[in-house]
Symmetry: C2
Subunit: 151 residues, 2 copies
């Protein structure tokens, strides 16, 4: 079973290495005694995230998400890294492949399947829905410093 | 210049296609009249995100982020998809490659560079720092439905 490696940590950051996309299948997410989800790993705790969580997951050909789920307060983004499949929300099927990105609101009844011939690997990020104020944006929140880069 | 394609949209979701990782270099982020950042695209608006924003960016060999920046209230996650380089926070350099993931707190003075020989492509996700309550987690927020999957 693969483990997340810490690269470096400081006052304002933490960096980890999850491994190459093809290695995600080597993770196991513990669910209970002798119960694991193969090919899935959460990185939020390892990174010390304070307003989101994030997972990598690989589904092998023919595998599906196993169940429908919704959320109480979290919006999710699914980011497809590799492979082909179908994402389903509220009974609507969406073809997915490398570069597909899906936003799902908390109430959306969702699942996914790999109906292709190679492994399907994705990232899922979740955070509080509606936590951005009107006009909240990367440009308004970011502060560019007038300081020469030093490497 | 490449554009984000909409795949499908419904009450509780929106799905877009950004394109393959190698195509991110074809985007241009408009900054002002006749000023663009090549190889960068934000997807938050296209997806209708309500508590985050997200970008894809490619730096060519030798290219750096151009400036240091901090944030007022957003925590960022940098997810390296391809290539090699260095990420810098508060003067500390972090080697990065496919599978590297970095959490940066709002106050972290950050930049990045591609010091490798191939394109460096990453995703950056930002959301409100400290917006998760104590114990907030995917498991507690998620609701698994007892309903058979229909494809």
């Amino acid at each position: 079973m693969k483990q997340i490696e810490t690269i470096k940590e400081g006052k304002n950051f933490k960096a980890v290495n999850v491994g190459a996309t093809d290695e995600v299948i080597q993770y196991e997410l513990p669910l209970g005694p002798n119960v694991v989800i193969p090919g899935k790993v959460f990185v939020g705790q390892a990174l010390g995230l304070t307003g989101a969580d994030m997972s990598y997951q690989t589904l092998v050909p023919g595998q599906d998400g196993g169940f429908y789920h919704t959320h109480k307060t979290h919006e999710e983004i699914y980011i497809i890294l590799k492979g082909k499949g179908e994402y389903q929300v509220d009974g609507q099927n969406i073809p997915i492949q490398e570069g597909s990105v899906i936003r799902v609101s908390p109430a959306g009844k969702r699942t996914i399947r790999n109906n292709g011939t190679e492994n399907l690997t994705m990232i899922c990020v979740q955070y509080k829905a509606n936590s951005f104020a009107e006009g909240d944006s990367p440009m308004e929140d970011g502060v560019i410093l007038q300081e020469e880069l030093k490497w």
